[in-house]
């Protein structure tokens, strides 16, 4: 029989740089998220005159928290599957493969950077070419010194 503990109480592994799953840290992050949610709800309230209950805002915070948790776990799994230690933009694109609109948004995020990279690579190639075009200077030893 396996007893599952909620992730909040499951201790994380300690390594040199310690990011402990301690409740203080979690509470502070959740509070920050909650604050941002409150601001967004307020923004909508002023536009539509429809107000949000306090518990609704708390629920939305919790939903978003769980969502980000799932995203993190998925991204890490994708990176590991690709035998990488860094999470890529490609991993994120794999994450949203089922949602057409999100896919489109991520395409726009990826492309400006890839254009810059292409330009940088072109410049590097040109510089390398120029270096090989210049023939190396040849110093000819002359015998003139001997006949000073």
């Amino acid at each position: 029989m396996v007893i599952l503990t909620p992730t909040e109480y499951r201790p994380q592994k300690f390594i040199n740089l310690v990011i402990v799953m301690d409740t203080d840290h979690v509470q502070r992050l959740k509070a920050s998220l909650h604050f941002t949610m409150g601001k967004m709800c307020e923004e909508q309230e002023t536009k539509t005159q429809i107000s949000f209950d306090k518990n609704v805002i708390a629920t939305i915070t919790e939903i978003l928290w769980q969502k980000i948790k799932l995203i993190a776990e998925d991204l890490e799994a994708f990176a590991k599957h690709g035998k990488r230690t860094t999470i890529n933009l490609d991993d994120v694109k794999l994450l949203v493969r089922r949602n057409e609109d999100l896919k489109a948004i991520l395409e726009t995020l990826g492309s400006p950077n890839s254009e810059e990279n292409a330009k940088i690579d072109k410049r590097k190639a040109l510089v390398k070419k120029k270096k090989t075009d210049i023939p190396p200077e040849v110093h000819l030893d002359t015998d003139d010194d001997m006949f000073v």
């Binding site: 994380q12 390594i15 941002t36 429809i50 991204l75 890490e76 590991k80 994450l95």
Partner: protein
């Protein structure tokens, strides 16, 4: 009719998450400490989370408005949650 359209004109919200907030939360839940996170990934996940929240707020407000109620309750969230979670994979 115009009033309705004006009220429900759908714009992207101007508030954003605090700078490193999403990054911190992701760090919490990546079990392997050696995994590093690319720079563009944070902006991408920020986008996703922002759209997610926009969608929740938009759908709950719609639901409350359709019921003719002036406050958003937990019932409204209950009603939109299934479709929302399916839409966001």
């Amino acid at each position: 009719m115009d009033n309705y359209l004006q009220l429900f004109e759908r714009k992207k919200s101007s508030t954003k998450f605090k700078e490193g907030l999403i990054h911190e939360i992701i760090k919490l839940y990546t079990a392997d400490q050696k995994v590093r996170i690319g720079g563009e990934v944070i902006t991408a996940v920020n986008e996703i989370a922002l759209r997610f929240v926009d969608e929740i707020l938009w759908r709950t407000i719609n639901q409350a408005h359709n019921e003719g109620v002036k406050d958003v309750n937990l019932d409204h969230i209950e009603k939109i949650i299934p479709q929302l979670l399916l839409d966001f994979a």
